[in-house]
Structures are given as structure tokens and as C-alpha cells.
Subunit: 143 residues, 4 copies
């Protein structure tokens, strides 16, 4: 693993250790490199909507988690200013979902990231895009 | 309360009773009328991001919940096809957030809904917009 | 007309006089007040897509024009960082379209604006939302 | 060129020949393959906003044109239901802009496309994402 990818991994793990959402939803970081992160999560009963399918907010949160680790992967604290999701296929209780975040563009303090959410059978569940903004500080002490 | 608003209230309560997300996040339905819903939620430690603020996914989920009750308020099962959020101000642990969903347009099977998320001190936290699609069935038996 | 609305009108007229797009598309400013603007445009042959309907980009541009005048209505130079459109109904050559922009929220240098585009028969054509950012200068000399 | 890419090229040319917008804006189709299209356009005075920069609506229209040719590249008539743009850097009069559209996902009648708009010096100008819907008919007679 090169240094940039090792830093990305350390930042993702540090963010996960500090946060509430990732552990609460059972999110696992499968892979974290510079500008790329893959996470997984299994849909539980407490993640369903009133229509009996995975709630769009939970699918969005999974995608946003992948985005967060990818956007902070250079150890520059970065948040989403705006994000969008297209919900393509319904996900059911018990299914494991994967979210892959990729950096598409950086320009000044802004960046654009795309996240694909898919099910383990390969179905496209959702596509997420975020516009990020750096905060001008580091995420972790990089020694 | 007129009949349309009473139906909206019954649908919202039925959806809430069936779903996982609303109870799991401690969402409360404050008001539900035809095409308008107001919900509240208090930010907990398990809703924070690695930056120590309310996770954008949780703010989105609160907004999406308000949207869901509003979009189904005529007892026509309706889901989001696409949704967007602008994250304006950070929310902290312990703050109570309110989300107000309003129907803006309906055209055929599609609709557009706007949701404002604000804190109890009046700060604008986020603005959410969803494009909905009806599924062609009822949500509850309306007798 | 109060002073705030008079300033909004003067800013919109000054922007229109300087710009290329509004005159090129035959956009007319019907009403301009603080935080609210209504414009119109008639769909021409050179605005059609390959499917023979008003091009989504032209409908977006009409909405973005209304947004621009509304977001600059306090004489603080403001641009869109991000914008979204839901295309609801097709518009045909010869139809006159109206776009109404309304300020929804301002928070620090950011703002959220909603624009409804409708046809003269009342059909909902599109809904547009923009996230704005102020540039820290005036649009016109306000004497 | 394989057959799929040849069909994509024929569809793009046929759409361009029928439409108003592409010729009116001086758009040129640089490359058209199955699920991928690259177009260019030079910013003219009649494409500027009141701030003296390329109007966001015109940048959106260029991106939407690239999307349109890419989304119809299999000769299945397809339109945008919803589209979003992040405006990253300003473009000036006289600059040539390029828009590259790529198919990201197809699921049933829906699809997601990403378009990058850049200037000839490599600056990222904008990122566009569209949610498409097929109409159930062909674009051209494919003999």
C-alpha cells in the first residue's frame, strides 16, 4: 500500500472510531484508498420504511458515509454542502448493500464525488452525488 | 379537522406504526395534513459524523420521513425517485430538529415536495427537495 | 412600491441590460420584488430538442434566469453553486412559459431558491432549486 | 467502429439534424459511442450572464446535450426526468468548453448519466448528473 492510500485508510478508521452513525448502522469499511472508498451494510428491520423496503434515508446515509471517508481521504477535513440521490431499485430486509465512492473532480475548496449503491446480487440500488467543501483543517494528526 | 386532513393523519400514523426508521430515530409526527407534515427529532450521539456534528445522512432521513408522510397523505402509495439536500448549518448533539414538508406540484404520477429542516432556535439546518412517483395502490384500507 | 422592491427591480433591469442570455432567449421580466421574480419566454424552434419538445437546458435556463434576478435582488452579487431541475411535462413550440422564483432560506453566504416553471394553460412544466453563494460585492451602484 | 458505436453516432447525428438547440449554440459532436458522448461549444457574448461569465443555464444546456446523445445512443428514445449541476469554475467569453457524458447505471426504464464540463486549459467548469427515463420507442429507423 502506498503512503497516500495508507493515510486514506487511517483517516477512515479514525473517523469511524469517533462517529455515531457508522457503528449504529453496522457499516463496515471494506476498502479505503485516496479518493476511493467501499463500504457495506446489511439492511435491518429498523431501517425499513412504511412501505416495507429499505428507507431512502438509510440508503442515502450509507452512500454519504462512503462519500465522507473518500472526501476526507487526503486528511483535509471536508463536508458535503449538497447531495443528491436517485433511488433506482428497492432493497429488502436482510440484503447486504455496498456503496463505492469515487472522487470525480476537485476545484479549489470544492469537490464532486459519485457513489454507486448496489446489492450483493449486482442490482443497482441508488446513485448518489455530493458537492463537497474543505474546512481548512486536518482530520487526524498525521505524524 | 376536515376529512382530507384526517386521512392524512391516519396514513402517517399507520406508516409510522409499520416502519423501522421513525421509531429507531425517535422521530415524532407533530402535524399531518393533506400535503403538509411536520416532524421532530432530537440529535443523539449515535447520529453524529466523524466531525462531531449531526450526520448529513441523518438530517436527510428526517427530511425524507416528513416527505414520505406528506407524499402519501392522500392514501396513494408514493415513493421518492430522486431527492436532493442542501446542508446549510451544522446541528449538534442534544438539539431538537424540525422538518416541514410541503407539496409543491403534482403532475401525473409525479410530484415535487420541499422540506425545510430547522433547529429549535430557528437556524436553517437544511433544505430538501424530492421528486416522487405514485405506485398505483393505497397505503391503508380507507373505510 | 417600497424601497426594497424598487431596488430589486433596478438590479434585475441592470442585469438584463448587461447580459447576453435574457435578450437572446426573448426572456421578459414580468415582476421583480425582494426575493421574488417572475419571468416569461415563448418557446421557439431554435429551443427544441431532437425529440421536438422544449430542450431541458432551455427550460433550466429560463428558471436559472428567474433565480438569478431573485438571488441578486438585495444588490448583493450572488451566483448558483448548484442547481437541480425536475422536468414534469413537455412544452411545445409556440407556448409561453412562466418561471416564478422565490427565496426559501438564507444562511450566511448561502441561500436556497425554488423556481416553478408553468405553461400559460397552467400545466406544471418543471421545478428548479438552486443553492446560491454571495460574492461579497454589489451588483449595481446603489445611489 | 463496431455496430453499437456506429448506431450511437447515427442517432446523435440524426438528433442534431432535427433539433434547434445544438445548431443555435454552435455545439459540435466530437465523439459518440454507445453510452459515451463528447461535445464542444465556444462561449459567445449572447451566452453570458449579468455577471459577465458563461450563464449557468448555458453550461447546463451543453451538458444536457451531451447527456441526450449518450442516453439515446442505443436508439431507445430517452429523456431526462431530473438533472443536477454543480458549477465549479467560471467560464469566459471566447473559451471553448467540452462536455463528456458517460452512462453510469441503467435499471429498468431508468438510467443515471454523469457529464463533466471542462475548459480547453483543463479547468473543471461543472459536473452534471441526470436521471433518465426511456419512452418505449426508437429515435431513428434502424435499418
Amino acid at each position: 500500500m502506498n503512503q497516500a492510500d495508507e493515510l486514506a485508510r487511517r483517516v477512515a478508521e479514525a473517523m469511524f472510531a469517533r462517529e455515531g452513525v457508522g457503528p449504529a448502522l453496522g457499516i463496515a469499511i471494506e476498502e479505503a484508498r485516496e479518493g476511493f472508498v467501499r463500504v457495506s451494510m446489511t439492511v435491518r428491520a429498523d431501517m425499513l420504511s412504511g412501505h416495507g423496503i429499505a428507507h431512502g434515508g438509510i440508503v442515502f446515509t450509507l452512500a454519504a458515509a462512503a462519500f465522507g471517508y473518500a472526501a476526507n481521504s487526503r486528511n483535509e477535513a471536508t463536508v458535503a454542502q449538497q447531495a443528491s440521490i436517485a433511488l433506482l431499485t428497492q432493497a429488502r430486509e436482510g440484503e447486504t448493500l455496498f456503496a463505492e465512492a469515487r472522487e470525480s473532480t476537485r476545484a479549489g475548496r470544492s469537490g464532486v464525488y459519485h457513489v454507486k449503491v448496489s446489492a450483493s446480487d449486482g442490482r443497482a440500488i441508488a446513485e448518489f452525488t455530493a458537492l463537497s467543501r474543505t474546512l481548512g483543517r486536518a482530520v487526524i494528526e498525521a505524524h
